[in-house]
Symmetry: C2
Subunit: 399 residues, 2 copies
């Protein structure tokens, strides 16, 4: 959970900096919502169920976009545009768990609906990069690979691929990174697709996207790559994926422009651009780059103070009161649940729990004061109980 919350914080902070608002939808939807977007083939990848005595079939959500399109179709005509939404809930896929793919996972979704154009495309790609930067990744660790449906189409037609073979050419480009060179060349020559460098793809729409990305300060993060195809029936313009720089692992994120989807769900024609970024591949990448502490401990909240009773009656009576009072003042307070009153052993527990300081309740209580030990510097001094919360608060903000 410490790692998951660390990743979520980067997603949330980037979303807020870019002016997105958080939404959520239900964890399960009618099955038809997913087949409407992806066809009946999706069913075997879903956890779906009927209720006893009911006719409807439901499915645990495998992705957010159909929910988003349904919500947008119902409401977008009443909302100020653009709608800028993000969400980061759990999703479910009924497939064999493997490296980079789990049955239950978190995914961040960011979408802009109602306004189109390359500046919006760059804003969505920009928020993804901003989250990755907050997690410590650089353009040497990850690459944003961009393409554009129109440019890719013009590009393959310019090589001599026939109109009817354009889908086959896209399919082949999509599979190119996983194919043997010889097999790719054989299949490509059959449909007239030349063996050109996928970075050579050109076109006006792609130029406009590059301009917008450069203006948004993203020049060093992206590469043009015609092998980025993604859902053929779904994306209508810009498409992109974010990959580990050497090409290891699955995509960290992906998305693009899907101007037809809200209409498919019964809404008005609506420009739309979005991205999805899961926690699983991203977590593997962060761990690989040493950007996650091995046991996650450094990501956990540190106790502000650990309170120790020296064992006399006054100290035993004071301990629960002081714990409650300092917590009420907003401090993260711990104490030992052990029977021992050996102060040395208890200080060692305070240190193991990474407390910033320790309070020792001893004979000084008679004069209204306690010993306060800074666990970082080892420095120890007497502090009046009345000033304790303030003194500990100051130690915390200094750390």
């Amino acid at each position: 959970m410490a790692v998951r919350r660390h990743i979520e914080r980067a997603w949330r902070d980037a979303s807020v900096a870019f002016g997105f608002e958080e939404i959520d939808g239900p964890t399960f939807e009618y099955l038809e919502l997913y087949t409407a977007k992806s066809g009946p083939g999706i069913v075997k990848e879903l956890f779906s169920f009927k209720r006893e005595g009911g006719d409807s079939t439901y499915a645990l959500r495998p992705e957010f976009t159909p929910t988003l399109a349904r919500m947008a179709a119902a409401r977008i005509s009443t909302l100020p545009l653009p709608v800028k939404w993000f969400t980061m809930p759990s999703f479910f896929r009924a497939e064999r768990p493997q490296r980079g793919r789990l049955r239950e996972f978190q995914q961040w979704n960011v979408d802009v609906l109602g306004v189109g154009g390359p500046a919006i495309d760059a804003e969505v790609i920009g928020v993804a990069v901003a989250a990755l930067e907050r997690l410590g990744l650089t353009p040497r660790d990850v690459r944003v690979k961009i393409s554009h449906r129109e440019a890719a189409r013009a590009w393959v037609l310019s090589m001599g691929v026939s109109e009817q073979n354009v889908p086959a050419a896209f399919d082949l480009l999509d599979r190119k990174p996983k194919m043997e060179k010889a097999a790719y060349e054989r299949a490509a020559s059959e449909i007239g697709l030349l063996f050109r460098d996928a970075a050579e793809i050109k076109g006006e729409s792609l130029d406009a996207l590059r301009c917008a990305l450069d203006a948004a300060g993203l020049a060093e993060w992206y590469d043009v790559d015609a092998t980025i195809v993604r859902g053929l029936a779904y994306y209508t313009g810009t498409v992109f994926e974010i990959h580990e720089a050497s090409g290891a692992e699955r995509a960290v994120a992906g998305g693009g422009r899907y101007d037809g989807l809200v209409e498919l769900f019964g809404g008005p024609s609506t420009p739309a651009m979005g991205l999805g970024m899961g926690d699983v591949v991203l977590g593997l990448l962060l761990a690989d780059r040493g950007l996650l502490p091995k046991d996650g401990a450094d990501l956990l909240p540190r106790p502000d103070v650990f309170i120790i009773s020296g064992g006399d009656d006054a100290a035993e009576r004071e301990l629960p009161r002081m714990v409650a009072s300092l917590r009420k003042q907003g401090l993260h307070v711990r104490h030992s649940y052990k029977a021992t009153r050996n102060v040395g052993k208890l200080l060692s527990d305070a240190s193991k729990q990474r407390a910033r300081c320790a309070v020792i309740l001893g004979p000084e209580l008679a004069s209204g004061s306690v010993k306060l030990k800074d666990m970082g510097s080892g420095e120890q001094r007497d502090v009046q109980v009345a000033n304790l919360a303030e003194t500990i608060g100051a130690l915390r903000s200094r750390a």
Copy 2:
């Protein structure tokens, strides 16, 4: 989502102040996990499903405790005690949605496992109170109603209820707040349960709990109430519920000691105390007390700055660069997506979006500066672009 995150923040902050660590489990479990705790009657309240070609039945989680007991049974012998865990995920109940009960809802769970005693019981009740206090509730708004299984048993036996009628007496006490006085008296006299004030329940175990609650500074929050019974087969000591002070609405929270549960799930005998607090009744209560802004807007992040282009070429070129650069420096930055360059209209948009300040890109850009308007005071001045992030940051921390 703004309201949900506001409530979650109170739950999380209270949990951390009390030294609890966050965990999560899967959204669905084997159905048997729930019938093992609650019997076959629970099935009709669950969303359950089988996978095609599979034998197992799964259920969306209706509560967290069985997952917690399963996890504890498997691991508790290897963990330092006490284990202090919290979680706040989604849960699901297949019942007709009604006021205070939704099919999908969030619930905060807090549990202490491995160490028993009244001080632990008071700590769990204390963390619930701390969260409610952070949300602005006082002992005049909510009451913690406490009872204790042993004390309740001794109390009903002392009235002359026979050993075999103890469960019937508990059941009757549980229903008492919802029954007509005459009906209650008739049923009570049949089993020898006298019509005594439920606050009169006494006993050593209850005295120890009251001492611990008082030491933890909770004296003004709780009432003793023998009608608090909860799951008969499940709780073994302290039981409590938190209710709106006048008794309106369902319980805001409930919990108690369940020392037998980890053993039931195949683990070692383990003292355990926990609570659950849902977001639905709590949300109704906060709204009723005026502790939630009506449209939730005050709970949304406020933009630090809204950037406006006056319309000349230099300003149009600078706008996307400045937006990207200020966001990169951690600021929440917005701008207009409209075609208009009417500065007055755009300042009005900045105000509607509650931006703390606005930047106007005008002819001053030629000398490297922009107009910065404090949207609170209305004050306006020229600021060098190089100093802009710092100046806006200072405005934000002053606000």
